[in-house]
């Protein structure tokens, strides 16, 4: 993610540095907005619900619907900001075996769907 942001900055810098003619400029603007769109698209894709993770993927917990997530799960470490890894999925993708912040536990897909996470790129 950070890499892309750097690319973005450097390209904009480059654009300002080189005083190019209009056509070239507009081409560059096109490029930039395209990259930007890509970036935005990616951002949307990064935030997902926990039940959509694939085996071996890691993510950071963003938030969850408090009424749908048992307190016991919070006490076992399922709190915003903590890292979660999908260790194993049972057949029919349910339940899910997770490693949350060092705690190994299994929850049902239903509960997992109420937890929003931000995927970490591998």
């Amino acid at each position: 993610m950070s890499l892309k942001r750097n690319q973005l900055l450097t390209s904009r810098q480059a654009l300002e540095d080189l005083n190019l003619d209009y056509r070239v400029k507009s081409f560059h603007i096109c490029c930039i907005s395209f990259t930007f769109a890509l970036f935005k698209f990616n951002l949307n894709k990064l935030t997902t619900s926990l039940d959509l993770l694939k085996r071996g993927e890691k993510a950071i917990i963003v938030e969850f619907t408090l009424d749908m997530v048992p307190l016991k799960l919070l006490e076992m470490g399922c709190l915003p900001g903590n890292e979660v890894e999908l260790v194993q999925i049972a057949p029919f993708k349910d339940p899910m075996y997770l490693n949350i912040n060092g705690s190994h536990l299994a929850i049902r897909k239903e509960t997992a769907s109420h937890i929003t996470v931000e995927k970490l790129s591998q």
């Binding site: 408090l66 009424d67 749908m68 048992p70 307190l71 016991k72 799960l73 919070l74 006490e75 076992m76 470490g77 709190l79 260790v87 194993q88 049972a90 057949p91 029919f92 349910d94 339940p95 075996y97 912040n101 060092g102 705690s103 190994h104 536990l105 299994a106 929850i107 049902r108 239903e110 509960t111």
Partner: protein, 700 residues
């Protein structure tokens, strides 16, 4: 003698709390129940330095002081009630070095109650392998406590722990996180309203669900009126509390703990890859189930035969050596066969508990729950129902108690209701004797023994009915409850021999003592009823029998048999049996089987014992029960009483009928109403009657 020191062992599940308890108390422990509830209470005595004795209480495992089950509630009730005789002078929080962060949550909560607290960090032997290093001194300072680094596997660190316990007075009782920071205004109002009370205690009383049991709140009664916050707001605050505590813990551990994560990747992931695999996982589980059944029904038959013979010999010995009389008869015909009927179960029960505790200790059971959850949910059950259904093959009572960790009430209720269908070990003697009477000992397809095939079929019928009725109940019962399901997947561990052995001994003991009392009482009552009778016909039974038969034409042996039969017919039990005969006749039974069925409503295993008692009254030949049963003649149709039709009918009746008072009592306790046990009794037994009736009428 000075007052005994009260020590409470508290900790998350899977931290090795029980091993620490076993190391501290050795065999000086006893297991009972908390008054009024079926939660197990484990206590023991530990000798401390300088001659002090400590009373150690092993509290049920809990993740926090927010109770979500009856077991966890016990912990809170004790810690909130200073007047309880077990209220700890010092709390020992057991944690596992690999899950220190999560374990410390509970620790900080207990510290908040101003109880002197010692932190035990268990499994220290794993530290090197996992490349974990701890700054104990700094940790002690930050947590304001004393720490004992122990290893119950290697038996190290316990001297220091004992030393710390005996010096509990020097421990700080200052909290390390103050819960009031989550909502200062609210807590201030609380403090003003109840100036004498401990603030965190008040908070716990407010936030706990009170449905679990009677909490002796005394002067705190008025607190329920103080609930100025809505339920969801309270939960939000509880979440905030959890976050605040974790922030503190994270800060502390950052300074004191270091883990080399590369070294931590290990056995767990490799084993999990196989044991929770979508194909191998199931195959391994079924292989383990097969092994367990093999052990229970094959390996345990050797010690069982020995016990059987020993009791037969004992009865014979009493009969021949003690002076003849009513008392000798009571012992030889009532008590010894009755006791034998209990003791014979020891090998099976012990094997079953051995396997179950091995599976739980090693951490494998959680994987089974994980694998089975989705499948079981189709039938309205939970993955956690697997444990009760498997242990139900030994005895429904511990099985129903094992449903407690199912969070969803509907799933738990269904599990409780269907567990008695699984073939418990009490049905086994009934099955075995009837199968050997009515099913020919033949081979089918050259390899399978017909008798063992029938036995296996009965097990499948039991399990199938359990699953099917669960599915039906899932449709019928209209209970709305959320599907909360959280299960910890603990690390794999090599089971500790000491833990497994203690568990097996203690579980077997409590089963034998519990069931034993009922069986013993019933066999004495039966014997009395069978060897006494009202009126002249009983007292004159001997003369009548002799008169009816042409004496001299029959050998003495034959004559004795007829006298015994005559006596039994006119005894109290005979009259009772005759009274119920019309009900059991359509199923193909005579009044003796009727009596055995009625008496086995107390406990199924009584069936064989009853028949043994009924048939052994008055007979002094060394004849097996089986031969006597084979010799019984159907009074109406003639021919052997136990034929294919009546045998199958009996087998099916026992497969479905609810015949166990102890199970009904446990169901009442666990569901807190008579509604469910009564329904269980009526529906299961009614169904059993209908099935047995249909089977007999079709086969005859």
């Amino acid at each position: 003698m000075s007052k005994q020191l009260n020590v409470a062992l508290i900790g998350n599940p899977n931290t090795g709390k029980t091993s620490v308890f076993n190391q501290l108390t050795g065999l000086k422990q006893q297991v009972g129940n908390y008054p009024g509830i079926t939660v197990e209470k484990k206590e023991g005595i530990c000798k401390l330095p300088r001659g002090v004795k400590a009373h150690i209480l092993d509290l049920p495992g809990t993740y926090s002081l927010n109770a979500s089950s009856l077991d966890e509630n016990v912990v809170i009730e004790l810690l909130l009630n200073k007047n309880d005789k077990d209220y700890p002078d010092v709390a020992v929080v057991v944690s596992d070095v690999e899950n220190l962060k999560r374990n410390l949550l509970l620790f900080t909560q207990i510290k908040d109650l101003h109880i002197p607290t010692i932190l035990v960090i268990n499994m220290a032997d794993r530290m090197k392998r996992k490349a974990i290093s701890l700054d104990i001194e700094k940790l002690e300072e930050r947590l304001e406590t004393k720490i004992a680094l122990v290893s119950s596997r290697k038996n190290t660190g316990f001297d220091k722990l004992k030393e710390l316990i005996s010096n509990y007075k020097t421990l700080s009782i200052e909290p390390c996180v103050n819960a009031s920071v989550i909502a200062p205004d609210y807590f201030n109002r609380l403090r003003k309203a109840f100036p004498k009370q401990d603030l965190y205690k008040l908070w716990l009383v407010i936030t706990q669900d009170v449905n679990f049991g009677k909490l002796d709140r005394n002067e705190m009664q008025s607190i329920n009126t103080f609930q100025t916050e809505s339920k969801s707001n309270l939960k939000r605050l509880q979440q905030k509390e959890t976050i605040v505590r974790y922030q503190f813990i994270n800060g502390v551990l950052k300074e004191t703990l270091s883990i080399d994560h590369l070294a931590a990747k290990d056995l767990r992931s490799r084993l999990d890859r196989v044991l929770t695999h979508k194909v191998w996982g199931y195959l391994i589980f079924f292989a383990i189930l097969l092994l367990i059944f093999q052990a229970i029904y094959d390996w345990s038959s050797y010690p069982m035969d020995l016990i059987d013979e020993a009791f037969a010999a004992m009865g014979e010995w009493v009969r021949t050596t003690m002076p003849a009389g009513a008392f000798t008869n009571l012992i030889a015909e009532g008590i010894i066969p009755g006791l034998g009927g209990i003791v014979i179960f020891i090998p099976q029960i012990a094997f079953l508990f051995l396997f179950i505790s091995l599976l739980e200790e090693s951490g494998y059971m959680s994987r089974v729950v994980f694998l089975m959850d989705r499948i079981m949910r189709r039938f309205g059950l939970s993955g956690k129902s697997v444990v009760p259904l498997v242990s139900g093959t030994a005895c429904a009572i511990p099985a129903i108690m094992a449903t407690r960790n199912i969070e969803n009430w509907k799933e738990r209720l269904i599990t409780i209701l269907v567990t008695p269908f699984t073939t418990c070990s009490a049905r086994l003697p009934v099955y075995l004797i009837i199968i050997s009477l009515v099913i020919p000992d033949e081979r089918v397809l050259y390899i399978f023994n017909l008798q063992s095939l029938v036995l296996m079929l009965l097990y499948l019928i039991g399990f199938g009915t359990a699953i099917l009725s669960a599915w039906l109940l899932d449709r019928i019962l209209k209970i709305k409850s959320r599907t909360f399901f959280v299960i910890e997947m603990p690390n794999y561990k090599l089971p500790l021999f000491k833990n497994v052995a203690y568990n097996v001994i203690e579980k077997t003991k409590s089963f034998i003592l519990g069931a034993g009392k009922i069986i013993l009482a019933i066999s004495i009552v039966l014997w009395v009823l069978a060897s006494n009778g009202p009126g002249d016909q009983f007292t004159n039974a001997e003369e009548n029998a002799i008169a009816r038969m042409d004496s001299g034409a029959f050998p003495q042996e034959e004559l004795d048999k007829h006298i015994a039969a005559e006596k039994l017919e006119y005894s109290y039990i005979g009259y009772m049996g005759k009274a119920i005969e019309p009900v059991v006749r359509p199923l193909g039974y005579d009044w003796k089987i009727g009596i055995a069925i009625v008496s086995s409503f107390a406990a199924r295993e009584v069936f064989v014992g009853t028949l043994a008692t009924i048939y052994s009254v008055g007979s002094d030949e060394e004849e097996t029960i089986k031969n006597r049963m084979a010799g019984e003649v159907n009074p109406i149709l003639g021919g052997p009483l136990f034929n294919l039709a009546s045998g199958i009918s009996l087998l099916l009746f026992y497969a479905f009928a609810m015949q166990c008072m102890s199970t009904l009592a446990i169901v009442k306790r666990e569901t807190n109403t008579w509604k469910w046990p009564v329904l269980q009794l009526v529906i299961m037994s009614g169904f059993a009657y209908v099935v047995a009736l249909v089977a007999y009428q079709l086969l005859i």
